[in-house]
Symmetry: C2
Subunit: 661 residues, 2 copies
């Protein structure tokens, strides 16, 4: 016979990911709202505590959970520091509260309570035994006075003394408490994991003339341009030496000419591998200077982690055991039959030398972390073994807790989600291919559903160097504006690949394909940054709206509102107390003027049907007077077919002309 | 660094209850359909096996899981024997299938495959090393022939030989397989746990005249009556000696007269406790004879397990430590302040002597199990410690695997569900208070939802000795018929408390209350079984419909169909292949004739819009010719305001007049 477990059952603790197998994610200052079912047999009063601690601490902190009805309890704690927290739940039967509640009922029913008072005396005395001074003395005196009270009404009144009870409640009898058998974890990343605007740029295309290979000094000159658009993460494709063997030519041709620069993702050459810098870009010192300069412009540099090797990578010679060898003695190149990528050797995660391989890969990330890099965009993590990612992210983050990893897993949903669970701080999404109102609504609702949002932070990209989506190919200027505004306001994390994006680059390599013509992956491009078609000013306004409005810095309170025109999408974001409210209205039609009536769910916005408010368009700077839920919108693809409306409530004061806050 | 885990991730295994903490439930012959997500990094082919075994066996049996798309897999196994089974999932990367699939693509693309053939040779050879004779020899020869094949097309054709491949597939390389880290359990109860019709009857009311206390011999005489109605479980309230101290009088009065027989739930007196028989009913031998006689009538006797004691129970003297003592030296009686139940002492599950208490209670159940009793209806299990139930049910069922426990937990939802998880085979439900179409639909859908049906088997009761619901108080004969047909067809397990039910007893003890006037809990009743109002013939028809139609013997395929009259409820049940289809149409209005158009979801019934079929009413024996989804119904509370329609498909043969099967 097992030791009798506690009489309280605890079930259905939330939030949790796969029953606690993986941590939930937060940033400092955020709250973890924990709920559980806790109940006992019979009618006794149950009490429930939320226990939490930083993972490295041994002692639990406690937070009272309160009943929500139907045996559900809720408590919460704030996370303040980077790293990991743990939490669980404990519950027990509170004999004192049970007794007290019953006593009230007995008194109300006019019953004899003399024996009940004596039961209470014993309960108070046992609490006194658990208490520390001076409470011990005080509770003991209470018990004494209560047992000595000769008049029933005096005893009853003394028994129900609220002041004494509140002291007693500090010393519950938790000897028979039930502790939930599992512990749950929280990974706390820094704030940028939740709110960031990424700009991807090829450093080698930053030179002042087209026939030159850009350097980090050129990149430095580009910083004011990027900073002026309001981004805060500057992400560079790999900056390492590029292989010569089987190098790809322009437009991904199999034979490279002598002038072809190759793909930056074919990492490794004479000058080194994953910890080396491409000589044409500069030196490590140049790189570090550039990173510092970027910081002064408010731009944090993100590096690309692409764990694969060109045939010329030093590891191919030094560690042949990390690659798979074919029966003819050659090394297995990357392939997705019948496609072959002979310029790239994948690392063999099935190698018996996997321990050394894992360590070497970890050392690559550490090397760059030691240079001050704290954001890594990981290329194709879904083609490397899952256990490796869990291990390496945990190791890096325990050494550098402010490290952020973005998963570039454009792959099947389950695989993408697994990578997020394993530790990636942000994830690329299918947003890139979601175009209609129904698609966008369903997908964003899925991403912010309780089962997913706890571990996956979406990062929305309208384009990447690999993906020029059909919508941008055919949508013209309006199409680019629509996709920009959707990405930047649906997602608190978003990014664009520029200058291709702001310059409306839309020619595909082959019709029906999604590769860019003259893709920067294979050649240096010169961009006319001052082109009159550039969206740079619009982008700057959108990023300013994001920075100035806390509502746009979090995804969970995204809410979609009805519009009577299916080509118009309307959604809102708010901060928790609705003091900051953003309503976005976007036409998804890049060809025709679209109009319709929006029906706002006012309760989501902290507004009432009778209230009028100013809807201030942070993009076009227009100001509309709206009232209640139904309001008219008209969106023209010739201009900006979208509004990012900040709701400004009327201040009903005649003393001031600033009616709207 | 941990040992590198397998590259395959396994997630979201279903079915499961609280991540495997509790078993799912089945009966012999049923299938457990197991699904999981299983996927690896990259594009390699994954294979997935369902592992299962009887819990006492050490070796797993294996069943192949097949992909369902989106990385979801499905497999199944049948349970055949009572007791417990375990199951889990294993998955691995299949190097041979990966190679084979890629080879096909390469051949289709006209690529050179010489090196690939050599890779295949190595894979086949390693499979040969794992194989047993004669397959080992055969595979080795295949590898040899393949490596010797000089002509490419010959080699390709030999490499893709399907016969050899199917032999090779018997010897997968599972060295790096991922085993799901948890195991899941199945509790297999006998078939009656899923399909049963209960009749509750007070033995002491079975005497031939009102002034006599019924005996087991009287009960024996009553058996043909109960059997004729078609029930298969005969449930008796407690048959033990009844306490005299604080005995309750008729209609639950506090002072019993000398003639008052007391409540059978106030267990224990001079003649003994939970293993004794009330002397007025007879002896243990009489009881055993009655149980045998019942069996001959197709009736299995269910006993009441009510773990509480009258003040006269032998345990009060023999084991005072099993009761809570008040400061005045008296034993704590049952109460729900301000209500007091001085005729009942609860057992104290918090006693330091809980081990001895648990064992004694187990011995009570064992005692009756040894008399051949295998069905126990447990009184108020929600007022006893949860861990006790899990322990005692597991112990009893490992000794007597055919034991069924019905949980009488009319309490809060979470508590009721916990008890089902802990092991109760069947559970009373809130059906008793669900009257409207919306209430019934929502509640039954909840009960058969995947999250609940795996552990909770509903048992639907329109009335009990404790509950005469308002609907029966005011609904008259039609009301009783409606509730009977709902219980018997919505639930594969159902029961009535008779003869109060079939004789339409509907007078409450106090207006607004749910107790019966002149409740059999406190007095002997004489029933006029031959009354013309009796529903016994109707009940017999309903129970025959249940016995003859497998569709009504399972709850999971219950489906609700639209009716354009909200007072009419329409639902169907089918067996898995829709060879047996029952459509029930019930008016919920006991006052007015109701008519409406039913819209059947034909795909749930294996029917098409163009097909006509006979709807044969198993209650009224009417036959209707229905076609397609929309059909008219009219239900009159003066008659039977319900149809239990068996769908009989037309047999399109002119050789026979039996058009309908």
């Amino acid at each position: 016979m097992a030791e009798a477990a506690g009489r309280v059952a605890i079930e259905s603790v939330t939030p949790e990911v796969d029953s606690g197998r993986f941590p939930i994610k937060r940033v400092p200052g955020e709250t973890v709202i924990v709920e559980c079912d806790a109940f006992a047999d019979g009618h006794d009063v149950v009490r429930c505590l939320l226990l939490y601690r930083r993972e490295q601490d041994t002692a639990w902190k406690e937070s009272v959970m309160r009943p929500r009805g139907n045996d559900r309890w809720r408590g919460e704690f704030r996370v303040e520091e980077l790293g990991r927290y743990a939490y669980t739940v404990e519950a027990w039967i509170d004999a004192f509260e049970t007794w007290r509640g019953n006593l009230v009922k007995r008194i109300d029913a006019g019953q004899d309570t003399r024996v009940d008072i004596l039961i209470g005396v014993a309960l108070i005395q046992s609490a006194a035994d658990r208490a520390s001074e001076p409470d011990r003395e005080l509770l003991a005196r209470w018990a004494g006075d209560l047992s000595a009270a000769a008049v029933d009404t005096v005893a009853q009144s003394l028994a129900l003394n609220e002041e004494f009870a509140s002291i007693l409640r500090r010393y519950p009898d938790r000897a028979s408490a039930t502790r939930y058998p599992g512990e749950f974890r929280v990974r706390v990343d820094r704030r940028k994991a939740r709110f960031s605007a990424w700009y991807e740029m090829f450093p080698r295309s930053c030179a002042s003339s087209a026939d030159k290979h850009g350097t980090f000094a050129d990149c430095e000159a580009r910083l004011p341009y990027v900073a002026a658009m309001g981004f805060d993460v500057l992400y560079l494709p790999p900056i390492h030496p590029i292989g010569r063997t089987h190098r790809k030519g322009r437009n991904n041709t199999v034979e490279a000419g002598p002038e072809d620069v190759g793909s930056p993702w074919a990492i490794g050459g004479e000058a080194g591998g994953h910890t080396a810098i491409h000589p044409s870009l500069g030196t490590l010192a140049d790189f570090n200077r550039f990173v510092s300069a970027a910081g002064r412009h408010g731009l944090e540099v993100a590096m690309d982690i692409a764990f694969q090797c060109s045939p010329d990578h030093p590891w191919v010679r030094e560690h042949p055991e990390w690659f798979r060898r074919r029966p003819d003695g050659t090394i297995q190149y990357a392939e997705n039959p019948p496609k072959k990528y002979q310029d790239i050797f994948p690392l063999d995660f099935d190698t018996p030398a996997w321990r050394e391989l894992w360590e070497a890969l970890r050392e690559v990330i550490r090397f760059w972390a030691e240079q001050g890099i704290r954001i890594f965009r990981v290329d194709n993590p879904h083609t490397k073994a899952f256990p490796f990612w869990e291990w390496v992210i945990e190791r890096i983050q325990s050494e550098y807790p402010d490290t952020i990893f973005l998963s570039e897993a454009f792959t099947r949903p389950k695989v993408k989600h697994r990578l997020a669970k394993l530790g990636f701080s942000q994830s690329y999404t299918y947003f890139t291919w979601r175009n209609t109102a129904a698609e966008l609504t369903a997908y964003m609702r899925e991403l912010i559903s309780p089962g997913i949002r706890e571990y996956l932070r979406p990062n929305l990209w309208p384009n990447t160097p690999d993906i020029l989506p059909e919508y941008l190919q055919i949508g013209g200027r309006a199409g680019f504006i629509i996709r920009l505004i959707l990405a930047a306001t649906l997602g608190s994390n978003y990014g664009i690949y520029g200058p291709a994006f702001e310059l409306l680059e839309n020619t595909p390599g082959v019709p029906g394909g999604e590769e860019y013509f003259a893709s920067e992956k294979y050649e240096i491009r010169q961009w006319d940054l001052d082109s009159s078609v550039s969206l740079k000013n619009l982008i700057a306004r959108v990023n300013r709206a994001r920075r100035e409005n806390p509502a746009l810095q979090h995804d969970w309170r995204l809410h979609f509102h009805e519009v009577d025109n299916p080509e118009i999408l309307c959604y809102s974001k708010t901060n928790p107390d609705c003091s900051n409210v953003i309503v976005v209205v976007v036409s998804l039609d890049f060809q025709h003027v679209r109009s319709g009536w929006v029906r706002l769910d006012l309760d989501k916005l902290g507004l009432s049907e009778s209230s009028s408010f100013q809807a201030h368009d942070l993009v076009g700077d227009g100001r509309f007077l709206w009232q209640g839920s139904r309001n008219y919108v008209e969106l023209d693809p010739q201009g900006v077919p979208a509004h990012i409306l900040r709701v400004r409530r009327k201040v009903r004061s005649e003393e001031d002309f600033d009616y709207y806050l």
